[in-house]
Symmetry: D2
Subunit: 352 residues, 4 copies
Amino acid sequence: MKLRVGILGATGMVGQRFIAQLYNHPWFEITSLMASERSAGKAYKEVAKWYIEGEIPEEVSEMIVEEINPQKAEKGELDLVFSAIPASIALEVEASFAKHVPVYSNTRTYRMEKDVPLVVGDVNPDHLQLVEVQREKRGWRGGIVTNPNCSTIGLVVPLKPIYDNWGIEFVHVATMQALSGAGYSGVPSMAILDNLIPFISGEEEKVESEPLKILGSLEGDEVKNASFSIMASCNRVMILDGHTEAVFLKTEEEFELDEVVKALKSYSSEPQKLELPTAPVPPIVVREEEDRPQPRRDRNAGRGMAVSVGRLRKNEGKLLKFICLSHNTIRGAAGASVLNAELAYKKGLLKV
Amino acid sequence: MKLRVGILGATGMVGQRFIAQLYNHPWFEITSLMASERSAGKAYKEVAKWYIEGEIPEEVSEMIVEEINPQKAEKGELDLVFSAIPASIALEVEASFAKHVPVYSNTRTYRMEKDVPLVVGDVNPDHLQLVEVQREKRGWRGGIVTNPNCSTIGLVVPLKPIYDNWGIEFVHVATMQALSGAGYSGVPSMAILDNLIPFISGEEEKVESEPLKILGSLEGDEVKNASFSIMASCNRVMILDGHTEAVFLKTEEEFELDEVVKALKSYSSEPQKLELPTAPVPPIVVREEEDRPQPRRDRNAGRGMAVSVGRLRKNEGKLLKFICLSHNTIRGAAGASVLNAELAYKKGLLKV
Amino acid sequence: MKLRVGILGATGMVGQRFIAQLYNHPWFEITSLMASERSAGKAYKEVAKWYIEGEIPEEVSEMIVEEINPQKAEKGELDLVFSAIPASIALEVEASFAKHVPVYSNTRTYRMEKDVPLVVGDVNPDHLQLVEVQREKRGWRGGIVTNPNCSTIGLVVPLKPIYDNWGIEFVHVATMQALSGAGYSGVPSMAILDNLIPFISGEEEKVESEPLKILGSLEGDEVKNASFSIMASCNRVMILDGHTEAVFLKTEEEFELDEVVKALKSYSSEPQKLELPTAPVPPIVVREEEDRPQPRRDRNAGRGMAVSVGRLRKNEGKLLKFICLSHNTIRGAAGASVLNAELAYKKGLLKV
Amino acid sequence: MKLRVGILGATGMVGQRFIAQLYNHPWFEITSLMASERSAGKAYKEVAKWYIEGEIPEEVSEMIVEEINPQKAEKGELDLVFSAIPASIALEVEASFAKHVPVYSNTRTYRMEKDVPLVVGDVNPDHLQLVEVQREKRGWRGGIVTNPNCSTIGLVVPLKPIYDNWGIEFVHVATMQALSGAGYSGVPSMAILDNLIPFISGEEEKVESEPLKILGSLEGDEVKNASFSIMASCNRVMILDGHTEAVFLKTEEEFELDEVVKALKSYSSEPQKLELPTAPVPPIVVREEEDRPQPRRDRNAGRGMAVSVGRLRKNEGKLLKFICLSHNTIRGAAGASVLNAELAYKKGLLKV
């Protein structure tokens, strides 16, 4: 018996990726596609501007989109919900579902709440437990588990083994982010052709704060943040999918470059040990070519779930430079939520 | 009477920009276009893949390209030479011209030689004097004056007022560089469409070293380098012209953000004071919109000679972030050489 | 004394081009920028997403946008109006202005009305007279003069000398149209990157009908349409400005290819004879290179007002192939309206 | 026992697609990768700029590229050869292999020879028999079978059912062709960004002649060409893969549009009947959306082997317009050769 899954915000870029990740999933079955009033009552194929390679999976294509409504959860017709709704409505909507079923959310609203886990499955799987605190504290049967912003995820995965082995003093990161991150109509072609836009609203704030919670340690009822400093500069470039990040960092301890390469290559975490269905093996792909990773070439590594790292270079003074790249709507969004839910499933945290 | 000017490497991207900057110049007149054997003997319009807006200036269009040969300089038929030749041949070729006439070079070969000025007209105009040392030491009547790499120029102009006012402890910079920097056929469309390339051969080394010489001080017969550290990560993006740079830096002294803005806006240097023909006024354009500068919108600021700076943000701990942008083949190449020559003209350094 | 000009729909792509064509015009002066309620009351620079090379002309930049309202025309505060408003509102709005002042419109609504001139200044300048019929019939003091769709203009200019000399049996044309034709936000980057869209709503119908009215003859009170057949297939490609059209046609009389080339090169019309301020000289630029015209290279020919034609090839059976290209928002829109108004000015048709 | 297959020109765009089509093929096994001297002796992964989604198949990746040499065929170490070599060397090279083994060639050199089959598996499978005439006439044990140019294939597949049912009087076609057709370095990014190129050397000649041989009838020892006229205008646009073609045609007999749609949808040919491994089912995909087919969305239909057709419109006078689209390096090149070889295999024509 598969768990019955609802997708909130099913028609957008991330919603589409939720469908692609959950379609034919061994444990989960899509039973409800929910979106705004405008789309409700129509067949999915009529309202989604499907941008993923290939056609919409046939069964999904004909499903009727429903209005977002927690009643289905309340009535016990859903076991689990994935959310890709706008932050502007998430505060109430996600709570209304979380009272009844687990909500795995890609939306930013609850990420920094003290009792809400902000989890990247391959980085801080232990933080998932925080949802028990949340359930108790808020009286919610389901609870909310969040995953971070797309740029945060691509960054924090390679930071993890570095942080564990040598500590981090600071991170400076310039991102070159794909168009799909802004939604289908988010960036007009007139704005970006022969151009780039050196600004993404709200993005730098997330990249500068979220990794500190993720790399923090769960101590009792709360997460104690990591304490290094981050500076981010976020840019939109003319690429369909795949965020590339140029990272400069300073470690606390002296390192040898080949040891960093080795630590990244051999990194593995709980999703790999548990052989979760969508876990990338390995989670980090180290490219040794002089000009990789590149978004069109590497975004689909590990079926879009691996982070590719390359151009590792050491400068004097414990300084390290590298490029990391990940698929922003798979690894950086829908895939991250699904991986979190798989992890919770194995740990028994999806039972309501 | 205008000075008779030769252009070495006249058919390439930078060679074309030399023509655009020098055509109808009040002091200089193009009298010789020199390029490789392959192009020699043919009309310019037949061998140049002209990429600049508009047609080739009519007189230039019909000029016969000559093989690169210092005899013209030796015989007194040229007063001045601009060079955009490949580094692989510059060691000998530029020297052979420099024996007879001043050479203003965009090529990297001589940049870091102790007795060769590496000059950005708006930043270290006083370094030009070093050419006198060079003439004496090498017995050359003309001498070589170089300008730095395109990414260095766009960076070092805004660094100058910051360095002068608050000092700099380190600079980390990620570049997003335009296609024209690689030459007309340098980047296949199959390589860059829906993609970026996080590597430009030799570029990071230049950006990490050249600014230190430029911001250094001329003391007696040599330049004493500035002593802060630079880390660069250079990326190629699908944009015709205009290099964008995401800069992170730490100052030595505490700063207020509005004072930095003021220092950048009010910055002016010798080319502005001397009202040189191609000097941008102001040299730094500060954009206050939240999403500027952008390459397609801002690369032609100051007729391609200004550096646009925007998104100035302060982080705790004397940390500053900003985006700077400049036209890589005008401000970052041909225009920089021409501005240096104009400066030298006014200072009497072009007389042989 | 310049005529006082209002621009309806001043903030869009075509509205911006009206400003660029009319700024510093010797006969016309922009005195009112009108747009939708949403923009009214704000400075132009705050509401227009300026996409034209360079900054907004300074005086215009600070002008306060007004709501579209014919009162100004009624009160005698305007002498002439240019219109780039959506077709959905043009029926009433343009009429309300036309009662008082001449309206030169780029909107499709009135184009095919029997008493409304559909004019390309270089092709059928004599049709302008039809406005007198219209004034009398409708009791309007001003009247409406339209110019055709952007793709029609680029096509009909080179068709004119061919039609006059050899007659035309049919025209088949496949267009490759630029993004600006769809408005700033008309084509999402996610829709068009690594892609093209083989459909533009309503476009083929216009291209298949408008040229027949333009190449028709004014007989008494009406235009007798030309009688050949046209088939059009319209495609959107990822290019900022410049529509390219692949034309296949069959003439009525046998032709020699070099005579066609000669007829195109030597073509001239009334705007050239009258030396109108924005008339391109020549109106048709014949490119003889094997791979021209190209949009990025040729769209600005004749300051964006010339049509470039190339790849003229003859097949057996009176068949002719060629490529034509024109700037869709200058020659194909705002520039066409302005040229018509200049023509009317010289012919005394702007007097109310 | 699989047939041992060699690929001539294995490193280029089409060579890569040969590998992708033949890897894990049920009947064929890649045993030799041949390319120019420059690549010979090196591992495939070192010399191929792999552009296909995903990594190079692992076994192929490490294979050592060999110099092109017919000895292997002569010695009986190969059963079959696929060719993607430049036309400039094909005359001799393909003949030298054809003496010993069947050669299935994507190169243009032999296409129009009287005794050489020019075959699109889904259109004129019966023409394959012509290879027996060739073997006898030339004394070759293997023989050469060619497939047409990429643009021809995408066009001729939908023409076939129209030609069979209503006859064709003329075809006018404007192509918008992808970059991969020009080879990895064929189109510099500086040439095509914000641009298109309305010329592809030699392409129009092929599109105007090849379909007539393919739609011709095999009568005795030769093909009697179809007799309608074709005009083509070929354009390069900034798209990675997928040629789009705007077709205008006139039938001989009157047609109803819905009957044409039905004829296209229900079209099937010998590869479908024989259930060949790479045969697309159906060979023609009719898109009914108003804005399809689009290259990024539809190029991979039928695993890149189907031709997508859309925007079918009827004009008066037996005139039909439509858009067709196919993957230029799969359906239009390597996939076409492989399909021909599969067909020959089933018909017993690969036995030497």
